[in-house]
C-alpha cells in the first residue's frame, strides 16, 4: 500500500435517496441510468427525467429468483446450476407525502381530485369538475401563460393539473407519464387531468399567468392544454392498472463512495399501506404516517450481451481507496 491510497472500508451510510423516472409504457422503454455518465450526479438536482423523491427508510432488497442444480452421475452431484426464475422485490418507506410518492406507494392508478362544478353530483373520486382554463403560448415549465380572466381564478397556494382534454383514446393515457390504462372509452372530458402527473403548486398569480413553485414534470405546457384546480389526491384499493417506473437508489458513503441500485422496471406490487412511526421512542402519542411501498422488479434485456436482468448495482469507490 502506498501513501496515496488506503484500504477500502465497508461503506458507512446514514440514509438512502430515491429517484424515479417514468417508463414509456406504450413503447415499454425504461429510462436508462448510465453510471459512467451520472456517477457524480447532484443528489439534490438529478438530471431529467429522474425525479427526486427524497430520503427513504427501511430500504430492503429481496432477490426472488431461483436457481436449480443440474445433477449427473451416481451418486448424483451438481454438474452445474441453471436459473429457473428471475425476479426481485423491493420495499421501503417514503418520508414524504407527495403526488408521486403516493402514486408509487399504491398498487393502482392515482388521481387528482379536481375542484367541483357548481351543483356537481357526489362521486368517490371527485364529482364533475369545474370548467378548465386554457393554456396560452409563452409558457415554461414553471410559468403557465393564461388569459387574465383565467389567471384570476387561481390564487397563490392553489394546486393545478395541466393536460389535454380526453378525446376517446384507449390504452395508456397521460404523457409523458402514463397515469392509467383504458380498456374502453370514458365519458369524462377531464379524465386525463384526473390521472395526470402534471401537477404543481401556484406560487404567484398575475394578469399574464401563474408562476409555479416547482417545475411541471411534463415540462413547458403547449398552448391549448387545459388546467384545473386540484383539491387533493385520491387512489383506490383495486383496479387493474399498475404503476411502472424506473427506480434509482443512491447510498452516499462517508468517504465519498457511492452505491447505486438501478431498477429499469419497477411495478408497484401491493396496495396502499401506511406505517405508524412514533415521533419519540417512549411516551409519544404522536405518530408520523409513512407511505409503505413495495415493488416487483421486471426484467429487461441488456443490449450488451442479451442477458435478462432486473437490477444493476454500481459502486464508485472513494477517492484513493484501494480496489
Amino acid at each position: 500500500m502506498s501513501a496515496s491510497s488506503f484500504p477500502s472500508p465497508a461503506p458507512v451510510v446514514r440514509r438512502i435517496r430515491a429517484y424515479f423516472a417514468p417508463v414509456n409504457r406504450a413503447a415499454q422503454a425504461p429510462v436508462v441510468f448510465d453510471p459512467s455518465q451520472l456517477w457524480n450526479l447532484n443528489l439534490d438536482s438529478p438530471p431529467a427525467p429522474w425525479m427526486n423523491l427524497g430520503w427513504v427508510q427501511s430500504f430492503a432488497r429481496k432477490p426472488i429468483g431461483k436457481s436449480a442444480s443440474l445433477l449427473t452421475g451416481i451418486p448424483a452431484a451438481t454438474f452445474e446450476q441453471v436459473r429457473e426464475s428471475l425476479g426481485a422485490q423491493l420495499s421501503f418507506q417514503f418520508l414524504s407525502w407527495t403526488k408521486l410518492t403516493m402514486a408509487l406507494a399504491t398498487g393502482s392508478q392515482h388521481m387528482n381530485v379536481l375542484a367541483p362544478a357548481s351543483g356537481a353530483f357526489a362521486a368517490a373520486d371527485g364529482g364533475q369538475a369545474a370548467p378548465p382554463a386554457t393554456v396560452q403560448s409563452g409558457s415554461t415549465s414553471t410559468f403557465v401563460a393564461l388569459a387574465s380572466a383565467d389567471a384570476a381564478k387561481f390564487a397563490p397556494g392553489a394546486i393545478i393539473a395541466i393536460d389535454a382534454d380526453y378525446a376517446g383514446s384507449m390504452g395508456y393515457v397521460g404523457s409523458p407519464i402514463s397515469g392509467a390504462y383504458l380498456r374502453a372509452p370514458v365519458a369524462d372530458v377531464d379524465y386525463i387531468r384526473r390521472i395526470t402527473f402534471n401537477v404543481a403548486l401556484v406560487s404567484q398569480s398575475s394578469s399574464t399567468g401563474l408562476t409555479l413553485a416547482e417545475p411541471l414534470p411534463g415540462g413547458a405546457p403547449a398552448p391549448g392544454l387545459k388546467l384545473q384546480k386540484v383539491i387533493g389526491l385520491v387512489d383506490r384499493e383495486g383496479g387493474s392498472f399498475y404503476q411502472e417506473w424506473s427506480g434509482l437508489f443512491i447510498l452516499q458513503g462517508s468517504q465519498g463512495e457511492r452505491i447505486f441500485f438501478y431498477y429499469p422496471r419497477l411495478q408497484t406490487v401491493a396496495g396502499a399501506e401506511e406505517i405508524d412511526a412514533p415521533l419519540a421512542r417512549n411516551k409519544s402519542t404522536l405518530n408520523r404516517i409513512l407511505l409503505s411501498a413495495q415493488f416487483q422488479a421486471l426484467p429487461v434485456t441488456d443490449p450488451l450481451d442479451g442477458e435478462r436482468v432486473v437490477c444493476y448495482r454500481s459502486f464508485v469507490p472513494a477517492p484513493g481507496a484501494l480496489v
Binding site: F6, P7, P9, V12, S254, Q255
Partner: protein, 154 residues
C-alpha cells in the same frame, strides 16, 4: 486521531464564521470565532457564555477493519444569559439561535481530514464523519460521535 479532532473543529469553526460572523470571543487578546476546544485553552472554572465549547470525552477503536476506525465522543456545550439590552429576558431566543447555528454547522456530516501539523495543513486521504447530535437539557450540550479512519503514519 488528533487530525480527525482538529479537522472536525476547524470544519465547525469555518462553517460558524460563514453563517454568523458576529459570534465571536476575545481570547488571549484576539477576537476569534465563537467556538473553542476546551482542552486546548487554559482551564476555567466557568464556561463562557454565547460561545460553543468543544469537549472531547470517550474514545472507541474498531481494530477489525482494514483501516482501524476511531469513534471519538464529542460534547459541544453552550449557554447564554441573553443580551443586556433586554435584561436577559431574551435568553430563550438566544439559546434557540445557538441551537439553530449548531444544527447548521454540523451539516454536512463530514469534512476532509487534514493534517494540521503541517503548514499549510495537508489534505489526507479519508474523510472525518459524524452522526446527528443528541441534544441534552439546558444549558445545552450536544453529543456527537465523530468517526475517522486511521491512515498510515497516524
Amino acid at each position: 486521531m488528533q487530525n480527525a479532532k482538529d479537522s472536525f473543529y476547524i470544519a465547525l469553526r469555518t462553517r460558524l464564521v460563514a453563517i454568523n460572523p458576529n459570534r465571536t470571543i476575545l481570547l488571549r487578546g484576539t477576537v476569534r470565532p465563537g467556538i473553542l476546544v476546551e482542552d486546548a485553552e487554559a482551564p476555567v472554572s466557568q464556561l463562557p457564555n454565547d460561545v460553543f465549547v468543544v469537549r472531547w470525552l470517550g474514545l472507541g477503536v474498531d481494530e477489525d477493519l482494514a483501516s482501524a476506525m476511531a469513534a471519538e465522543e464529542c460534547e459541544i456545550v453552550y449557554q447564554t444569559c441573553g443580551t443586556q439590552s433586554f435584561g436577559g429576558l431574551d435568553r430563550g431566543r438566544a439559546l434557540s439561535e445557538m441551537d439553530e447555528e449548531l444544527m447548521a454547522i454540523v451539516q454536512p456530516f463530514f469534512t476532509p481530514k487534514l493534517n494540521f501539523s503541517a503548514q499549510p495543513p495537508a489534505a489526507m486521504l479519508t474523510q472525518v464523519f459524524w452522526d446527528v447530535p443528541a441534544f441534552g437539557p439546558i444549558s445545552r450540550s450536544a453529543k456527537v460521535l465523530v468517526y475517522s479512519y486511521q491512515e498510515q503514519g497516524e
